[in-house]
Symmetry: C2
């Protein structure tokens, strides 16, 4: 007895053990509306027996019959990027109360894996898909297959409302402006800027924000102090890029008192490069990042940066996905939505006022 061939206890096992039919047992254990009509004593007995036998409903059988998988796929471009984690956390928080299981998939920025997972999403009948964006999606409309099945899609980190996909992303323009304004308020005027890789959608608006704020502050950005990050392969390549930048710009002997880096990892690379050249942050040069990820927080000096409300974005994304499913369920149209999140300046120790910086001599010697 006990152990059936499948190795799992089924409704039939429970039914036999307590002398009721499979139907009754199912009705009781799944708390179907009909269970109101089942005698309290019966319910009790069935529940106890199920517990005792260690019954757990088979999600596959259930999903097959109910035609609901209670699953939402979360497609992250790279889990090793600390950027992804708070978003994932937010998504989890949003899915939990609605009782959906997040099917967390890490494409590792590999196109091959992306395709594999896309297939799995279809096969596993995910009811919704949340995509944490990356350049992988640039060229392609890989998601078309999924849309065809009327599965709601939400993308975070990029604006795809143009393609009628609900999108959440930070206001990069505002963020870039915040960063520059902070530096200008500290008195910096010779500001070097590291622009993001071309394939990243954040790069352009961020740069636009920087330019706008510079203009507003009456600061002219010397094009010879503007660098461009190469297309990145993994999250740490931002660090390499920042390091490389520092070496190159110091070699030109061109004077500057602050660096506005594309993201936190880049900023950390810059700090490393400057430090190795004997400069101090922030005394000799201020550095500001973007994103507010863990490494920027625990580094010394802590990196002044532009915080993105990632967790909140993830939470909202999850809620949208659930609402999208609900809407479809009752046959309602669910138009693409958009949320542009407000970035916030977080001041730490990697930036300092130009006038109060104790030692500007060093920088001058270099220049």
């Amino acid at each position: 007895m006990g152990q059936r061939k499948s190795g799992h206890v089924t409704l039939l096992d429970v039914a036999r053990a307590c002398g009721y039919s499979v139907s009754t047992v199912s009705i009781v254990l799944s708390e179907a509306p009909l269970s109101q009509n089942v005698a309290a004593s019966t319910r009790e007995r069935i529940r106890k027996m199920a517990q005792q036998l260690g019954y757990h409903p088979d999600a596959y059988a259930r999903s097959l019959r109910r035609r609901r998988s209670q699953t939402i796929a979360v497609l992250a471009y790279d889990l090793s990027d600390p950027f992804c984690i708070p978003i994932v956390r937010g998504i989890q928080a949003g899915l939990q109360p609605a009782n959906y299981l997040p099917l967390l998939m890490d494409t590792q920025t590999q196109r091959r894996l992306f395709d594999t997972y896309l297939k799995m999403i279809l096969e596993r009948r995910a009811e919704g898909v949340i995509v944490i964006a990356s350049w992988i999606f640039e060229e392609t409309d890989l998601l078309a297959d999924i849309e065809k099945n009327h599965v709601p899609i939400v993308i975070v980190g990029r604006d795809l409302t143009g393609r009628k996909i609900s999108s959440l992303f930070v206001d990069n323009e505002a963020g870039g402006a915040l960063a520059l304004r902070h530096l200008s308020e500290l008195g910096h005027r010779k500001i070097a800027v590291i622009r993001g890789p071309e394939e990243l959608f954040d790069s352009e608006p961020r740069w636009a924000g920087v330019r706008r704020a510079a203009e507003e502050a009456g600061i002219e950005i010397d094009p010879r102090l503007v660098f461009q990050l190469p297309n990145l392969t993994d999250p740490t390549s931002g660090f390499e890029g920042g390091l490389e930048f520092a070496k190159q710009i110091l070699a030109t002997l061109r004077p500057f008192t602050a660096v506005l880096a594309f993201d936190d990892l880049t900023a950390l690379g810059v700090v490393r490069g400057l430090t190795e050249a004997g400069l101090r942050v922030p005394e000799d040069c201020s550095v500001v990042g973007f994103d507010d990820v863990l490494p920027a927080i625990v580094a010394t000096p802590g990196i002044t940066t532009i915080h993105q409300p990632l967790r909140e974005m993830g939470l909202l994304a999850a809620q949208w996905a659930v609402q999208g499913i609900d809407a479809r369920e009752i046959g309602k149209r669910n138009p693409a939505r958009m949320h542009k999140a407000l970035p916030e300046l977080v001041v730490r120790k990697s930036t300092a006022s130009l006038v109060s910086a104790k030692n500007r001599r060093r920088n001058k010697e270099q220049a």
Copy 2:
């Protein structure tokens, strides 16, 4: 036509569309052994039609019938701990070729979530479970339910071979010894040690290794220089702990030239604390960490640390899990295995030779 009620194309749709029976279509598309007997022209036709209709086999129906979910649950104690990521990556790499889908679950160090996920593992009929350990498992044998169903379990980060569970973990004793030996070889003798939280299994052996190496090197560890990290709640609490430590020990005015921290985040906290007190790392004080996580790599100075081969451990864990499933399939016993991974010293810039340290005066002034 086309769109059936479930909203997904089924075998029946394909069968009707090309005039064969469901069986034939199934045999062809699932590449069953019988498909050899199917005329090449038929195969061709069916495949084309399936492609055209956008058919994707329903994983639920398939799993139900085959009694295989092709799924392995990965239970991580906290995805926001950079420690977890390389392990997860390794697991993914190990599962990919065997064609299992990792069901990635993040308990966020919450007991409640842990229970929820455990239930889901059972319901979703995961064929194996890989646990990335934490103190959550301390008290309990929550996994008993899973073992009861003869689902192979592998745990990484802790030795549970005593409970007949396959385990992979780093040789903490050796790692602790490596760290201390490094410092002693640099000439340090007054070494402060930050021990891990009591609830963490790594803490004790690591400390034992430190003591052994100290003895071998003829160094006496001043008990007044030994601190104990409180039980942590989230990954960043290590950082707070290190910071707190630095403040406290500097207040005692007791002299020391190096700090051996429990892990990298703690080390980063120490660096912050020392720096804020006006000390320089490594000139005034060396700091060594443990784990070799991203923040330690990109900080400046880079943290000298003990590297754990996390990716390799994850890979092996995945392979063990798959082998465990295979063994069960053919009715073979699968005894618990154990792998103690070798840690490696990674020298960066947070440690320096005592004699070459340019400026010991500062430290003396403090002491």
